[in-house]
Symmetry: C2
Subunit: 257 residues, 2 copies
């Protein structure tokens, strides 16, 4: 599988297009409905853009990187050449969202992608799935051209990985945002939290288990400090609730260790 078409122009499609282009594989086309983004992403990756199914390029694999709910519809509408592989890149979408008659697969990169932000694709774990046994060696070889970490996982396993990523990425970013809101209410910039944020991540990266390096009032069950914190959040019942249930879960979890 040398010739690749990427379908989509979102943040993941942008990162994927550049990774494919850099890998030595042939990125023969970017297919996307959004003309402005499609042209921009194709240009970044040094390939051509089209939105016209009649002009869809011939390729060995079509990587469909569109919104979760559009995966099935987009895949069904593409006039794929016989024998081509169609793979979607979504963590939480089952394999069978793709047409049953296709040589279908999943190619899920476990990472957060932001427009204009470059990532080292070789470090990103890739989760593969297919129901076409004959496809497995070629799909794995393709994935290994792009990443050092390739994992076979069925849709149920991948759904768990995607859920874990929501906690370990989306919810974490929201905790940063909550922290920012609190320091701003004290007249301080977000920057004041950055050394703490960096060290917290560095500790977890060095840890066998993050539970081993948990600190703070909740793990000590310091009720007095937690009561003061909740009082500071009294004006925002949603945040006070988040504070209470996460603190409770830290304490309940730590007791089991």
């Amino acid at each position: 599988m040398e010739r690749v078409v990427i379908v989509g122009s979102g943040n993941l499609a942008e990162a994927l297009a550049q990774a494919v282009a850099r890998s030595g594989l042939q990125l023969v086309q970017l297919f996307a409905r959004n003309a402005a983004r499609g042209e921009a992403v194709a240009a970044l990756a040094g390939t051509q853009w089209t939105a016209d199914p009649a002009r869809l390029a011939d390729a060995d694999i079509y990587l469909i990187s569109v919104s979760d709910k559009a995966v099935g519809e987009v895949a069904a509408a593409l006039p794929l050449p016989a024998g081509a592989v169609v793979a979607h890149t979504a963590g939480s979408v089952p394999l069978d969202a793709l047409p049953a008659h296709a040589r279908r697969a999943v190619f899920y990169p476990l990472q957060t992608f932001t427009k204009g932000r470059s990532v080292d694709f070789s470090q990103i774990p890739l989760f593969l799935e297919t129901d076409d046994e004959s496809l497995r060696p070629a799909l794995e070889a393709f994935a290994r051209r792009l990443s050092h970490t390739v994992v076979w996982a069925d849709s149920a396993c991948r759904a768990k990985v995607h859920l874990a990523a929501v906690f370990a990425c989306n919810f974490i970013n929201h905790m940063y945002a909550v922290g920012e809101g609190i320091v701003r209410s004290a007249g301080l910039p977000f920057d004041i939290l950055k050394p703490l944020l960096a060290e917290t991540a560095a500790k977890a990266l060095d840890a066998a288990s993050p539970a081993d390096v948990q600190t703070g009032p909740a793990v000590r069950n310091d009720l007095h400090t937690m009561a003061r914190h909740r009082a500071l959040l009294a004006a925002d019942p949603r945040l006070e609730n988040i504070y209470s249930i996460i603190s409770n879960n830290i304490w309940e979890t730590s007791k089991k260790i």
Copy 2:
């Protein structure tokens, strides 16, 4: 203020003792009740240990780094020399936990400390407070020997900073631990999440505001994916609740931006 005594032998006392020893200030003694930890931390920082108030060394500043609830009692029990400064290092403890007759101050380093883990103290924001105006220049000069970032903050401001740190450190570490639990339930090691974890922190460190780089189903209000995630958590109602209320807060917050 050249001569320093550190009181305590916890994780922060350990980091502080080493930072003072490296700074060129004189770490004249470590005072701690716990003999094993006291001797170990003193040895790490190349100083002497005592638990005997009668042998408390003469110093310019006594940094009290003990558990939040012990600060007042420990400070009151120390036979401090006349004119010496006593400062506690706790984020959420008011200045007036220290004896009113003392030259008292707060010296709060905004960081997470772990036994045996070395940190670059010069990068840690230090929050200072005192009710002795004459002490301010010397306290600030002392703090600047240890860190590039020194901020004056009253107890109310510092309490907010400490609360922000709970979100941006303690809760984040717990989200890592939850993520670990979920990938382990799929038969995968915590390591599989580390590239995502590192990139999430790197993005926030580069961001003016973490809200600008929020990704995931909650910020897209992708109800279908969130319903699938909650179904995966049905066996753990506490986690399902955490998932729901954080997702809700991400969406409610994003609408306001």
